[in-house]
C-alpha cells in the first residue's frame, strides 16, 4: 500500500539523515580524512535519492483529491516529518560545506582540531546505505571536487524544498503528531513507525537464539558434570 511504502521510505531517509549528522560531526576534527569525505558523499547521495522517491510518492498522494479525511491526516503527518527531515539534511549539508571549505585536507599544515575522536566511521555510513561494509575507493583530490558537488547538491535540495512548499499546501499547525511527550521512553512500542515494529521483530529472534544457546550450554554443562561424577565414582 502507498502508505506503507511512504513510511518505509521516510524511515530510511530518517536513518540516512541521522547517519549523515553523525558523520558531519567529525568534519574538521582529528578524525577527518579522505575516507570520511567519501562516506559523507555516499550517505548524502543515498539520502537525496530517498528524498526524491519519498517526495514523489507523498506529493502524488496528497494531490489526490479523492482521499479520505483520516488517510489525508496520516499523509499530512508523514509530510510534516518528511519536510522536517529534509530541512535537517539541508542544514547539515550546508554546515558540511562550510566546514569542508574551512578545513581543507591538503593544506600544507592541516589545521584540524584535535578533539579526541580518532576512530573511523565506516560503520555509520554502511548503516545508512544498508550494506554490510563500505569500500573506500577515492582518488587523492577527492575532497576538492566533492566540495563543488556538495555546493550544487545543497542548492538542489533547497530547490526541492521550495518546490515542495509550492506544490503541496499542508498547514503545519493543524497536524497532530502521533507521539506524545516522553514517547521515546517506550522503546519500540506503538505502531507509529515500521521501524518500531521491525525492532521488536528483530529482538524476538535474538531472544530466541539467546535462549537456545543458554539451553545448549547448560545441557553440555550438566553432561560434563555427570561424566565427571561417573569418572570419580568409577575410579
Amino acid at each position: 500500500m502507498a502508505r506503507e511504502e511512504c513510511k518505509a521510505l521516510l524511515d530510511a531517509l530518517n536513518k540516512a539523515t541521522a547517519c549523515y549528522h553523525h558523520l558531519v560531526l567529525t568534519v574538521g576534527s582529528s578524525a577527518d580524512s579522505q575516507n570520511l569525505r567519501e562516506e559523507l558523499q555516499k550517505t548524502r547521495q543515498k539520502a537525496q535519492e530517498l528524498a526524491v522517491a519519498a517526495r514523489a510518492q507523498l506529493t502524488a498522494a496528497l494531490r489526490d483529491r479523492g482521499l479520505g479525511a483520516e488517510e489525508r491526516a496520516e499523509f499530512e503527518r508523514l509530510w510534516v516529518a518528511f519536510s522536517g527531515c529534509l530541512d535537517l539534511l539541508e542544514a547539515d549539508m550546508r554546515r558540511a560545506l562550510a566546514l569542508g571549505t574551512a578545513f581543507p585536507l591538503h593544506a600544507p599544515r592541516r589545521p584540524l582540531v584535535h578533539t579526541g575522536v580518532t576512530g573511523g566511521a565506516a560503520g555509520i555510513a554502511a548503516r545508512a546505505l544498508s550494506v554490510r561494509s563500505l569500500r573506500h575507493e577515492a582518488e587523492r583530490d577527492f575532497d576538492v571536487n566533492d566540495l563543488r558537488e556538495l555546493e550544487r547538491e545543497v542548492l538542489q535540495v533547497g530547490e526541492m524544498i521550495h518546490d515542495m512548499e509550492m506544490k503541496v499546501n499542508v498547514p503545519r499547525w493543524t497536524v497532530q503528531a502521533r507521539q506524545a511527550a516522553g514517547a521515546e521512553l517506550l522503546s519500540g512500542a506503538g505502531a507509529s513507525s515500521v521501524g518500531g515494529v521491525s525492532t521488536e521483530g528483530r529482538r524476538r529472534p535474538c531472544d530466541l537464539s539467546k535462549a537456545l544457546a543458554a539451553a545448549v550450554f547448560s545441557a553440555v554443562l550438566l553432561v560434563a558434570v555427570a561424566l565427571a561424577v561417573c569418572v570419580a565414582k568409577l575410579s
Binding site: H21, V24, D87, V113, G116, Q176
Partner: protein
C-alpha cells in the same frame, strides 16, 4: 528551523568578529610543533587522546601573545565560556582553572559560528536522546525546556522521536571512546547555548531586543514600493549606466573628461547635477558645490548660522574622539549660549534636553538640536532656495557637456595610453636592483 523569541547574544545578522578571532586562536593551538601540549585521558578501560591541562593553556597563551597571566586566564575563560574548550571533570563549571584540570577542544561542528542560531528542533532531539539514555531522569531545567518545546513544536514530535532513536543507534557504531567524546561535545554545546540558569545578562538582552523590535518603524509594502518606483523613475536619467554619460564613458573612450567635469568641487556644475539638487534636501547637502551655493543663499536670507551649526554638528559626530569635549564647548559658545554671536533658533524643549546633555558631552549629544535645525532648513529655506532666482540662474548656466563624436576610422582615434604591463615591471626590477645604488633614481 525557526529560532526562539530572542536569539542569545543579540541580533543574528550582526557581525561576530570575536568568534572568528577565538577560532583562530584555537586553530593555532593545534599546531603540532608550536601548539599546546596534549595528553591522554585515562578512563577505566579506554584511553582518549587530546586532553590539555588548564595550566598548559595559560602558559601557551602567555608565551604566544606576550600577555600577563591574568589576561591569559581571562582569555582562556572566554574560550571555555563560548564553548571552544570544555572541562572533562566538571562539565557544568565553564571556567578555566590554571592547574591540572583536563580540558578538550570542541569539534568545529559545534562551534558557535557554525551553528548559529541553535535550532529548537535540534535541542528537542538532544533532549529526547538524553531522555532515552537516562530513562526519563532529566535535570529540572531540561524538563522545563522539554515541556516547553513539546508545546511549541508538537507537530514535529514524530520527527523528534524518530531522529533521536536513529541518532542513538548510529552512535552505537562508533568505538566506546569516540562515543563518550561525542556525547561530551554535544552536552557542552547545549550547556553553552541553553544555560541552566537564566542570569541577569540573559534577561537584559531579551529586554533590549524586544525594545528594539518594538521601536522599529514599520512601513506598508505598498508605500515602500511606491517610493522605490518614484526613486527609480526620478534617478533613471541620471544613472550613467542606464542613460549613458556625457561626454563619454571613460572606460570605453579612454578619456577622463567625465570625471573632470563631475569632480566634487568644480566651478561649472553640469545640468544633471543641478537638477539633482531639486530632488531632495539631502542631495543638495551632500554635494559640496550645492552646499556652497545654499550657504550663499542663506547668507542673503540672514540664516547662514543654521547651516554652519549643522556642519559643526556633523564634524562633532564624525570627528576624532579626543576633540569631542573641545568641539562641544566651541559649538556651545558659538551657537547655543544665550548671547552667542550666531545664535540658532531651537525650541525650548530641545534646548533644555541639549543643555542637560552638555553636562556629560559625548559625540551624539547635539543630535536632537541638529535634527531640529535640519528639519527647519528642509521645510523652510530649501523650498525657497528652489524657487529663488539664484537657483534658476544656476540651472540656466549649467553646462551640458557635448557628446564626443565617434571617429569613423578607428586608426584616427587618440592613441590609447597603456600602463606598463606587470611582466615588464617585474623584469625591470632585478635590472634596477643589479644596477645598485649607482643606478640612482629608479626607472621602474
Amino acid at each position: 528551523m525557526a529560532a526562539g523569541p530572542a536569539p542569545p547574544g543579540g541580533c543574528p545578522s550582526a557581525q561576530r568578529p570575536h568568534l572568528s578571532k577565538m577560532e583562530r586562536v584555537v586553530v593555532s593551538m593545534q599546531d603540532p610543533d608550536q601548539g599546546v601540549k596534549m595528553r591522554s585521558q585515562r578512563l577505566l578501560i579506554t584511553v582518549i587522546p587530546h586532553a590539555v591541562a588548564g595550566s598548559d593553556i595559560v602558559e601557551w597563551l602567555i608565551q604566544k601573545y606576550c600577555i600577563s597571566e591574568e589576561e591569559a586566564l581571562h582569555l582562556g575563560t572566554l574560550l571555555v565560556r563560548h564553548g571552544y574548550l570544555y572541562p572533562l571533570r566538571d562539565p557544568l563549571s565553564l571556567l578555566l582553572q590554571p592547574d591540572d584540570t583536563p580540558y578538550r577542544f570542541q569539534t568545529p561542528y559545534f562551534w558557535t559560528s557554525t551553528q548559529w542560531p541553535a535550532a529548537e528542533l535540534d535541542y528537542a532531539i538532544y533532549l529526547a536522546k538524553k531522555n532515552i539514555r537516562k530513562q526519563g531522569a532529566l535535570v529540572d531545567h531540561e524538563k522545563e525546556h522539554y515541556n516547553q518545546l513539546h508545546r511549541k513544536i508538537s507537530h514535529t514530535w514524530d520527527l523528534v522521536v524518530m531522529q533521536a532513536r536513529e541518532q542513538l543507534r548510529a552512535a552505537k557504531q562508533r568505538r566506546k571512546g569516540d562515543r563518550l567524546v561525542i556525547a561530551c561535545q554535544e552536552q557542552t554545546f547545549w550547556l553553552v547555548h541553553r544555560p541552566p540558569t537564566k542570569n541577569m545578562d540573559f534577561y537584559r538582552r531579551e529586554i533590549e531586543y524586544c525594545r528594539k523590535a518594538l521601536g522599529r518603524t514599520r512601513v506598508k509594502s505598498s508605500v515602500c514600493l511606491e517610493a522605490y518606483l518614484k526613486f527609480s523613475s526620478q534617478h533613471g536619467p541620471h544613472d550613467p549606466i542606464m542613460s549613458g554619460c556625457l561626454p563619454s564613458n571613460p572606460w570605453i573612450a579612454d578619456s577622463d573628461t567625465y570625471w573632470v567635469v563631475n569632480a566634487p568641487s568644480v566651478a561649472a556644475p553640469t545640468k544633471l547635477r543641478v537638477d539633482r539638487w531639486g530632488f531632495s534636501f539631502r542631495e543638495l547637502l551632500e554635494d559640496p558645490v550645492g552646499r556652497a551655493h545654499f550657504m550663499e543663499f542663506l547668507r542673503k536670507e540672514f540664516s547662514a548660522e543654521n547651516l554652519s551649526f549643522w556642519e559643526a554638528c556633523e564634524e562633532l559626530r564624525h570627528g576624532g574622539q579626543a576633540q569631542v569635549p573641545a568641539l562641544v564647548d566651541a559649538v556651545y559658545e558659538q551657537f547655543l549660549a544665550p548671547g552667542a554671536a550666531r545664535w540658532v533658533n531651537i525650541d525650548s524643549h530641545t534646548m533644555e534636553r541639549t543643555l542637560e546633555g552638555l553636562r556629560r558631552p559625548h559625540r551624539y549629544v547635539l543630535d536632537d538640536a541638529q535634527l531640529h535645525i535640519y528639519m527647519l532648513m528642509k521645510k523652510d529655506s530649501y523650498p525657497r532656495f528652489l524657487k529663488s532666482d539664484m537657483y534658476r540662474g544656476l540651472l540656466a548656466e549649467a553646462v551640458v557637456p557635448p557628446e564626443t563624436k565617434w571617429r569613423v576610422f578607428p586608426f584616427m582615434r587618440k592613441p590609447r595610453r597603456s600602463s606598463p604591463s606587470p611582466a615588464l615591471l617585474a623584469s625591470m626590477e632585478p635590472a634596477a636592483a643589479a644596477g645598485g645604488p649607482r643606478g640612482g633614481d629608479g626607472e621602474a
